[in-house]
């Protein structure tokens, strides 16, 4: 009987987790067809490939293999003109509120708000959701994986000059790297 209850509890959690991901996916799908939005989607396969690259030193090699290979999907959505960024920011935040996401950090910079939210399981980050909204700009970043090392992702983006991950810079400062 205990097993049955446990299984049911786990099933409820699993359904809950799926619902959260679906909510974000639906949000992305809502704007993906709007050609005025910039949208980029990287599959997990891409990160598996990157994780196989030969790095300069053993530490970087380990970081690549152990962290990036676990990323399942990265999506970026954005618009920097003719957009009510504040309204979209509020809409996006409402979407994830009370759905298992914890706030990692929030920043008010110039006239825009940036918020980082994460979803963890077993002390590992399974999902990062970053939303940025300003007077006339809006941006969304979603990283889904199985134990994501954000610091590794930020370091990689810096190393190869990949745009879009600059907002993760605080991770570098936080760890004193």
């Amino acid at each position: 009987m205990k097993k049955l209850v446990l299984t049911m509890v786990m099933a409820v959690f699993a359904v809950g987790a799926k619902a959260q991901t679906d909510a974000i996916s639906k949000y992305f799908s809502k704007y993906v067809s709007d050609t005025s939005f910039m949208h980029v989607n990287f599959s997990g396969k891409m990160f598996q490939m990157i994780s196989r690259l030969e790095m300069d030193n053993a530490e970087e090699q380990k970081m690549m293999e152990e962290s990036l290979g676990k990323i399942k999907r990265v999506q970026v959505l954005g618009k920097d003109k003719n957009v009510d960024g504040r309204k979209m920011y509020a809409e996006a935040i409402k979407l994830v509120e009370g759905k298992g996401f914890e706030e990692l950090m929030s920043v008010r910079e110039d006239d825009k708000d940036i918020r980082f939210l994460i979803k963890e399981s077993n002390n590992k980050i399974d999902e990062l959701f970053m939303v940025m909204g300003g007077k006339n700009e809006f941006g969304l970043l979603s990283i889904v994986g199985d134990g994501i090392d954000l610091n590794a992702l930020y370091k990689l983006s810096k190393k190869i000059g990949m745009d879009g991950f600059e907002e993760l810079e605080f991770l570098d400062q936080r760890k004193g790297n």
Binding site: T35, F37, M38, H39, V40, N41, F42, S43, K45, M46, M49, I50, R52, L53, E54, V76, G78, K159, I160, G161, M162, D163, G164
Partner: protein, 180 residues
């Protein structure tokens, strides 16, 4: 965001390869492209030799660590490029959607897709024995479509080294900015 797309495109091209898409070839035969370009290993080597020769004219120390084009493209066997200009009708769109599905049915997996300033790009890769065999890139522009079919892979480590070298050596000569 062009930087992400460009780097993404570079990063998708890792490992071994010996395949090009049959459906892309069939599509080309059924629908004549406005422009067709074929780059074979010999053509690519020729470009690499030209780069080496030009570089040799400058005796600057900073070039000594720069990866050679030959090293970057060593794994590429063939590149096909097809441009379809003025393909803007709904029917054209449906043909390309069908091609995308056909490419998927051949075992190509989507590595990335992106839309920047109205241009849509999808990158597919086919693997065999856990190694990439080929890549297909389909780009939808305002004025038409282009297809890039690659047999082989560039040396991504060398490309990253070059990117790093350029980014570090000069603030005014930044690869990321150049790709913008």
């Amino acid at each position: 965001m062009k930087k992400i797309l460009s780097l993404g495109l570079c990063l998708c091209m890792v490992s071994f390869a010996t395949a090009q898409s049959k459906h892309v070839e069939r599509f080309r035969k059924d629908h004549k492209p406005t422009t067709s370009l074929f780059f074979y290993k010999s053509t690519l080597k020729m470009y690499a030799r030209m780069q080496q020769s030009l570089q040799g004219q400058f005796d600057a120390e900073e070039f000594s660590e720069m990866p050679q084009l030959a090293e970057m493209i060593d794994g590429i066997e063939k590149i096909k490029f097809f441009l379809y200009e003025d393909w803007t009708s709904q029917q054209d769109r449906q043909l390309f959607e069908k091609l995308t599905e056909d490419v998927r049915s051949e075992g190509y997996e989507e590595l990335m897709s992106g839309r920047v300033e109205g241009n849509q790009m999808s990158v597919f890769m086919k693997e065999g024995r856990s190694r990439p065999q080929g890549f297909v890139v389909i780009v939808r522009m305002e004025t038409g479509y282009s297809i890039i079919d690659i047999e082989g892979y560039p040396n991504v480590n060398k490309i990253m080294k070059l990117s790093n070298l350029i980014n570090n050596s000069s603030n005014s000569l930044n690869l990321s900015e150049a790709i913008k």
